[in-house]
Amino acid sequence: MTTSTIVVGIALGLAAGVLSGLFGVGGGILFVPTLVALGLGQIEAQATSLLAILPTVAVGAANQRRYGNLRLRTAVILGVSSVLGVEFGARIATSMSETTLRRLFAVLIFGVAAHLVWRTTRARYSDSS
Protein backbone atom coordinates (compact mmCIF):
# COMPACT_ATOMS: atom_id res chain seq x y z
CA MET A 1 0.00 0.00 0.00
CA THR A 2 1.51 3.31 -1.04
CA THR A 3 0.95 6.58 0.82
CA SER A 4 -1.31 7.88 -1.92
CA THR A 5 -3.43 4.72 -1.74
CA ILE A 6 -3.80 5.20 2.00
CA VAL A 7 -4.81 8.85 1.64
CA VAL A 8 -7.27 8.10 -1.17
CA GLY A 9 -8.61 5.09 0.75
CA ILE A 10 -9.26 7.11 3.91
CA ALA A 11 -10.86 9.93 1.93
CA LEU A 12 -13.11 7.58 -0.06
CA GLY A 13 -13.99 5.60 3.07
CA LEU A 14 -14.93 8.77 4.91
CA ALA A 15 -17.02 9.95 1.96
CA ALA A 16 -18.72 6.55 1.63
CA GLY A 17 -19.57 6.62 5.34
CA VAL A 18 -21.03 10.13 5.22
CA LEU A 19 -23.08 9.29 2.12
CA SER A 20 -24.39 6.03 3.53
CA GLY A 21 -25.43 7.76 6.76
CA LEU A 22 -26.91 10.71 4.92
CA PHE A 23 -28.98 8.72 2.43
CA GLY A 24 -29.66 5.61 4.46
CA VAL A 25 -28.05 3.15 2.10
CA GLY A 26 -25.85 0.30 3.19
CA GLY A 27 -22.13 0.85 3.32
CA GLY A 28 -21.37 -2.16 1.12
CA ILE A 29 -22.91 -0.66 -1.99
CA LEU A 30 -20.36 2.16 -1.72
CA PHE A 31 -17.42 0.18 -0.37
CA VAL A 32 -17.26 -2.27 -3.26
CA PRO A 33 -16.74 0.43 -5.94
CA THR A 34 -14.35 2.21 -3.56
CA LEU A 35 -12.24 -0.92 -3.14
CA VAL A 36 -12.36 -1.62 -6.86
CA ALA A 37 -11.14 1.94 -7.44
CA LEU A 38 -8.28 1.24 -5.03
CA GLY A 39 -7.23 -1.64 -7.25
CA LEU A 40 -8.85 -4.74 -5.76
CA GLY A 41 -10.51 -7.39 -7.92
CA GLN A 42 -14.30 -7.59 -7.84
CA ILE A 43 -14.58 -10.68 -5.65
CA GLU A 44 -11.79 -9.50 -3.35
CA ALA A 45 -13.49 -6.11 -3.08
CA GLN A 46 -16.78 -7.75 -2.16
CA ALA A 47 -15.20 -9.98 0.49
CA THR A 48 -13.26 -7.06 1.95
CA SER A 49 -16.35 -4.86 1.87
CA LEU A 50 -18.09 -7.35 4.16
CA LEU A 51 -15.35 -6.83 6.74
CA ALA A 52 -15.35 -3.07 6.18
CA ILE A 53 -19.07 -2.71 6.91
CA LEU A 54 -18.77 -4.36 10.33
CA PRO A 55 -17.62 -1.25 12.28
CA THR A 56 -20.32 0.92 10.68
CA VAL A 57 -22.99 -1.68 11.34
CA ALA A 58 -21.89 -2.10 14.96
CA VAL A 59 -22.09 1.66 15.59
CA GLY A 60 -25.43 1.92 13.78
CA ALA A 61 -26.99 -1.03 15.58
CA ALA A 62 -25.85 0.25 18.96
CA ASN A 63 -27.44 3.62 18.18
CA GLN A 64 -30.70 2.04 17.06
CA ARG A 65 -30.79 -0.05 20.21
CA ARG A 66 -30.55 3.14 22.21
CA TYR A 67 -33.50 4.60 20.30
CA GLY A 68 -35.44 1.43 21.05
CA ASN A 69 -35.99 0.47 17.42
CA LEU A 70 -34.05 -2.75 17.55
CA ARG A 71 -35.77 -6.14 18.00
CA LEU A 72 -32.81 -8.13 19.12
CA ARG A 73 -34.40 -11.58 19.01
CA THR A 74 -35.69 -11.05 15.47
CA ALA A 75 -32.28 -9.75 14.44
CA VAL A 76 -30.54 -12.82 15.83
CA ILE A 77 -32.93 -15.19 14.04
CA LEU A 78 -32.47 -13.26 10.79
CA GLY A 79 -28.72 -13.13 11.17
CA VAL A 80 -28.22 -16.75 12.12
CA SER A 81 -30.45 -18.03 9.31
CA SER A 82 -28.61 -15.81 6.86
CA VAL A 83 -25.47 -17.88 7.49
CA LEU A 84 -27.00 -20.66 5.36
CA GLY A 85 -27.53 -18.22 2.51
CA VAL A 86 -24.06 -16.74 2.87
CA GLU A 87 -22.33 -20.00 2.00
CA PHE A 88 -24.60 -20.42 -1.01
CA GLY A 89 -24.08 -16.82 -2.16
CA ALA A 90 -20.31 -17.11 -1.83
CA ARG A 91 -20.35 -20.25 -3.98
CA ILE A 92 -22.32 -18.50 -6.70
CA ALA A 93 -20.03 -15.47 -6.56
CA THR A 94 -16.80 -17.46 -6.76
CA SER A 95 -18.12 -19.62 -9.61
CA MET A 96 -18.80 -16.53 -11.72
CA SER A 97 -16.22 -14.61 -13.70
CA GLU A 98 -15.19 -11.29 -12.15
CA THR A 99 -16.50 -9.39 -15.16
CA THR A 100 -19.94 -10.96 -14.88
CA LEU A 101 -20.00 -10.27 -11.16
CA ARG A 102 -18.97 -6.66 -11.71
CA ARG A 103 -21.71 -6.18 -14.29
CA LEU A 104 -24.26 -7.69 -11.94
CA PHE A 105 -23.06 -5.34 -9.25
CA ALA A 106 -23.49 -2.42 -11.65
CA VAL A 107 -27.08 -3.51 -12.23
CA LEU A 108 -27.57 -3.63 -8.45
CA ILE A 109 -26.28 -0.06 -8.16
CA PHE A 110 -28.73 1.08 -10.84
CA GLY A 111 -31.47 -0.60 -8.84
CA VAL A 112 -30.44 1.20 -5.66
CA ALA A 113 -30.34 4.53 -7.51
CA ALA A 114 -33.82 3.92 -8.93
CA HIS A 115 -35.13 2.92 -5.51
CA LEU A 116 -33.72 6.10 -3.96
CA VAL A 117 -35.44 8.24 -6.57
CA TRP A 118 -38.69 6.34 -6.10
CA ARG A 119 -38.52 6.60 -2.31
CA THR A 120 -37.80 10.33 -2.41
CA THR A 121 -40.55 11.03 -4.92
CA ARG A 122 -43.04 9.00 -2.92
CA ALA A 123 -42.09 10.87 0.26
CA ARG A 124 -42.74 14.17 -1.50
CA TYR A 125 -46.19 13.08 -2.61
CA SER A 126 -47.17 11.87 0.83
CA ASP A 127 -45.93 15.15 2.30
CA SER A 128 -48.07 17.25 0.01
CA SER A 129 -51.24 15.22 0.48
Partner: protein
Protein backbone atom coordinates in the same frame (compact mmCIF):
# COMPACT_ATOMS: atom_id res chain seq x y z
CA UNK B 1 -41.68 -23.50 21.22
CA UNK B 2 -44.33 -21.35 22.81
CA UNK B 3 -46.54 -19.23 20.67
CA UNK B 4 -45.04 -16.18 22.26
CA UNK B 5 -41.62 -16.96 20.92
CA UNK B 6 -41.67 -13.96 18.71
CA UNK B 7 -43.78 -11.48 20.43
CA UNK B 8 -43.31 -7.82 19.92
CA UNK B 9 -43.75 -4.81 22.03
CA UNK B 10 -42.91 -6.21 25.42
CA UNK B 11 -46.03 -4.56 26.73
CA UNK B 12 -44.90 -1.14 25.59
CA UNK B 13 -46.49 1.13 23.11
CA UNK B 14 -44.43 3.33 20.85
CA UNK B 15 -45.28 6.89 21.87
CA UNK B 16 -45.39 8.14 18.30
CA UNK B 17 -48.03 5.59 17.37
CA UNK B 18 -50.41 6.48 20.16
CA UNK B 19 -51.97 9.31 18.20
CA UNK B 20 -52.23 7.32 15.00
CA UNK B 21 -54.16 4.76 16.96
CA UNK B 22 -56.59 7.40 18.08
CA UNK B 23 -57.07 8.55 14.49
CA UNK B 24 -58.02 5.10 13.44
CA UNK B 25 -60.37 4.45 16.27
CA UNK B 26 -62.04 7.81 15.61
CA UNK B 27 -62.82 6.66 12.08
CA UNK B 28 -66.44 5.51 11.67
CA UNK B 29 -66.48 1.75 11.52
CA UNK B 30 -68.44 -0.31 9.07
CA UNK B 31 -70.91 -2.77 10.47
CA UNK B 32 -69.41 -6.19 10.69
CA UNK B 33 -70.59 -9.42 12.15
CA UNK B 34 -67.55 -10.03 14.22
CA UNK B 35 -66.70 -13.04 16.25
CA UNK B 36 -64.26 -11.04 18.32
CA UNK B 37 -63.44 -7.36 18.63
CA UNK B 38 -60.22 -8.08 16.84
CA UNK B 39 -62.18 -9.20 13.82
CA UNK B 40 -63.42 -5.64 13.45
CA UNK B 41 -59.88 -4.53 12.92
CA UNK B 42 -59.16 -7.45 10.67
CA UNK B 43 -61.82 -6.33 8.23
CA UNK B 44 -60.85 -2.71 8.18
CA UNK B 45 -57.81 -2.34 5.94
CA UNK B 46 -56.66 0.80 7.70
CA UNK B 47 -57.03 -0.76 11.11
CA UNK B 48 -55.32 -3.93 9.97
CA UNK B 49 -52.33 -2.02 8.68
CA UNK B 50 -52.33 0.00 11.86
CA UNK B 51 -52.43 -3.10 13.97
CA UNK B 52 -49.37 -4.39 12.21
CA UNK B 53 -47.54 -1.24 13.03
CA UNK B 54 -48.79 -0.96 16.55
CA UNK B 55 -47.39 -4.42 17.23
CA UNK B 56 -48.92 -6.54 19.88
CA UNK B 57 -49.25 -6.90 23.51
CA UNK B 58 -49.18 -9.86 25.71
CA UNK B 59 -52.26 -10.74 27.62
CA UNK B 60 -52.10 -13.80 29.72
CA UNK B 61 -55.84 -13.68 30.24
CA UNK B 62 -56.42 -13.65 26.49
CA UNK B 63 -58.29 -16.93 26.48
CA UNK B 64 -60.50 -16.08 29.41
CA UNK B 65 -61.51 -12.79 27.87
CA UNK B 66 -62.38 -14.24 24.51
CA UNK B 67 -65.93 -15.22 25.47
CA UNK B 68 -66.57 -11.72 26.84
CA UNK B 69 -65.35 -10.26 23.62
CA UNK B 70 -67.62 -12.39 21.51
CA UNK B 71 -70.57 -11.14 23.51
CA UNK B 72 -69.43 -7.56 23.16
CA UNK B 73 -68.84 -7.90 19.45
CA UNK B 74 -72.22 -9.38 18.64
CA UNK B 75 -73.87 -6.57 20.54
CA UNK B 76 -71.79 -4.05 18.72
CA UNK B 77 -72.73 -5.46 15.36
CA UNK B 78 -76.39 -4.98 16.17
CA UNK B 79 -76.26 -1.51 17.65
CA UNK B 80 -74.37 1.05 15.56
CA UNK B 81 -74.30 3.76 18.21
CA UNK B 82 -72.67 1.38 20.62
CA UNK B 83 -69.99 0.63 18.12
CA UNK B 84 -68.15 3.86 18.81
CA UNK B 85 -68.20 3.09 22.50
CA UNK B 86 -67.07 -0.37 21.60
CA UNK B 87 -64.24 1.03 19.57
CA UNK B 88 -63.01 2.74 22.68
CA UNK B 89 -62.73 -0.72 24.05
CA UNK B 90 -60.78 -1.52 20.91
CA UNK B 91 -57.69 -0.63 22.87
CA UNK B 92 -58.32 -3.63 24.99
CA UNK B 93 -58.68 -5.71 21.87
CA UNK B 94 -55.34 -4.63 20.47
CA UNK B 95 -53.79 -5.06 23.85
CA UNK B 96 -54.98 -8.61 23.96
CA UNK B 97 -54.07 -9.46 20.41
CA UNK B 98 -51.06 -11.68 20.34
CA UNK B 99 -49.11 -10.88 17.23
CA UNK B 100 -46.99 -13.82 16.37
CA UNK B 101 -44.68 -13.74 13.43
CA UNK B 102 -43.92 -16.90 11.60
CA UNK B 103 -40.47 -18.11 12.40
CA UNK B 104 -40.36 -19.67 8.96
CA UNK B 105 -40.83 -16.30 7.29
CA UNK B 106 -37.99 -14.79 9.26
CA UNK B 107 -35.67 -17.65 8.42
CA UNK B 108 -36.58 -17.41 4.73
CA UNK B 109 -35.89 -13.68 4.76
CA UNK B 110 -32.61 -14.35 6.54
CA UNK B 111 -31.48 -16.88 3.96
CA UNK B 112 -32.41 -14.58 1.08
CA UNK B 113 -30.48 -11.74 2.71
CA UNK B 114 -27.51 -14.04 3.24
CA UNK B 115 -27.33 -15.09 -0.42
CA UNK B 116 -27.63 -11.49 -1.51
CA UNK B 117 -25.03 -10.32 0.98
CA UNK B 118 -22.36 -12.85 0.03
CA UNK B 119 -23.08 -12.56 -3.68
CA UNK B 120 -22.60 -8.80 -3.80
CA UNK B 121 -20.51 -8.03 -0.73
CA UNK B 122 -23.21 -5.81 0.68
CA UNK B 123 -25.07 -6.01 3.97
CA UNK B 124 -28.23 -7.57 2.65
CA UNK B 125 -30.41 -4.90 4.23
CA UNK B 126 -31.37 -3.88 0.70
CA UNK B 127 -33.39 -7.03 0.42
CA UNK B 128 -34.13 -7.72 4.09
CA UNK B 129 -35.80 -4.39 4.90
CA UNK B 130 -38.48 -4.52 2.17
CA UNK B 131 -39.15 -8.20 2.89
CA UNK B 132 -39.46 -7.52 6.62
CA UNK B 133 -41.90 -4.67 6.02
CA UNK B 134 -43.88 -6.74 3.54
CA UNK B 135 -44.07 -10.06 5.37
CA UNK B 136 -43.71 -9.30 9.06
CA UNK B 137 -45.46 -5.92 9.17
CA UNK B 138 -42.70 -4.43 11.26
CA UNK B 139 -42.69 -0.62 11.14
CA UNK B 140 -40.12 0.71 8.68
CA UNK B 141 -37.88 2.19 11.36
CA UNK B 142 -37.88 -1.03 13.35
CA UNK B 143 -37.30 -3.15 10.24
CA UNK B 144 -34.31 -1.02 9.29
CA UNK B 145 -32.81 -1.14 12.78
CA UNK B 146 -33.40 -4.87 13.15
CA UNK B 147 -31.91 -5.67 9.76
CA UNK B 148 -28.90 -3.55 10.69
CA UNK B 149 -28.15 -5.79 13.65
CA UNK B 150 -28.79 -8.90 11.55
CA UNK B 151 -26.34 -7.58 8.94
CA UNK B 152 -23.66 -7.66 11.63
CA UNK B 153 -24.05 -11.43 11.88
CA UNK B 154 -24.49 -11.89 8.11
CA UNK B 155 -21.41 -9.86 7.24
CA UNK B 156 -19.36 -11.65 9.88
CA UNK B 157 -20.40 -15.00 8.41
CA UNK B 158 -19.54 -13.69 4.95
CA UNK B 159 -16.11 -12.58 6.11
CA UNK B 160 -15.42 -16.03 7.57
CA UNK B 161 -16.62 -17.81 4.42
CA UNK B 162 -14.51 -15.58 2.16
CA UNK B 163 -11.52 -15.66 4.51
CA UNK B 164 -11.39 -19.41 3.93
CA UNK B 165 -11.04 -18.62 0.23
CA UNK B 166 -8.31 -16.04 0.94
CA UNK B 167 -10.29 -13.19 -0.55
CA UNK B 168 -10.45 -10.82 2.44
CA UNK B 169 -7.89 -8.03 2.63
CA UNK B 170 -7.85 -6.88 6.25
CA UNK B 171 -5.63 -3.85 5.56
CA UNK B 172 -7.97 -2.45 2.92
CA UNK B 173 -11.01 -3.23 5.07
CA UNK B 174 -9.56 -1.17 7.93
CA UNK B 175 -8.44 1.56 5.53
CA UNK B 176 -11.95 2.06 4.20
CA UNK B 177 -14.12 0.71 7.02
CA UNK B 178 -12.81 2.67 9.98
CA UNK B 179 -13.04 6.16 8.40
CA UNK B 180 -16.44 5.12 7.09
CA UNK B 181 -17.73 4.33 10.58
CA UNK B 182 -16.83 7.86 11.63
CA UNK B 183 -18.27 9.24 8.41
CA UNK B 184 -21.53 7.37 8.87
CA UNK B 185 -21.89 8.80 12.36
CA UNK B 186 -21.44 12.29 10.92
CA UNK B 187 -23.73 11.55 7.97
CA UNK B 188 -26.55 10.32 10.20
CA UNK B 189 -26.20 13.43 12.36
CA UNK B 190 -26.27 15.61 9.26
CA UNK B 191 -29.38 13.83 8.01
CA UNK B 192 -31.30 15.02 11.08
CA UNK B 193 -30.41 18.63 10.35
CA UNK B 194 -30.75 19.12 6.63
CA UNK B 195 -33.32 18.27 4.00
CA UNK B 196 -31.79 15.62 1.81
CA UNK B 197 -34.48 15.53 -0.87
CA UNK B 198 -32.60 17.38 -3.62
CA UNK B 199 -29.31 15.88 -2.53
CA UNK B 200 -30.80 12.42 -2.93
CA UNK B 201 -31.38 12.99 -6.63
CA UNK B 202 -27.78 14.09 -6.94
CA UNK B 203 -26.66 10.99 -5.07
CA UNK B 204 -28.75 8.78 -7.38
CA UNK B 205 -26.99 10.38 -10.34
CA UNK B 206 -23.63 9.70 -8.67
CA UNK B 207 -24.60 6.06 -8.10
CA UNK B 208 -25.66 5.72 -11.72
CA UNK B 209 -22.29 7.14 -12.74
CA UNK B 210 -20.50 4.60 -10.54
CA UNK B 211 -22.64 1.83 -12.07
CA UNK B 212 -21.72 2.90 -15.61
CA UNK B 213 -18.05 3.06 -14.63
CA UNK B 214 -18.25 -0.50 -13.27
CA UNK B 215 -19.94 -1.67 -16.45
CA UNK B 216 -17.23 -0.31 -18.71
CA UNK B 217 -14.27 -0.86 -16.37
Amino acid sequence: MSEGFLRYGHGQRLPSLAHERRDVTARPQRAVAATSPCAVRERDPVATAERGRTEAWVASDDVERRSDRRLLASRRAREPEQRTAGEKRGDQCTAGHVHTIGLVRLIAIGIAAGVFSALFGVGGGLIAVPLLILFTQLPERVATATSLAAIGITALAGVIVYAYRWEVDVGYAALVGLPAAGGAFFGTMLQQRITTRHLTYGFAVLLTGVGIWLLVA
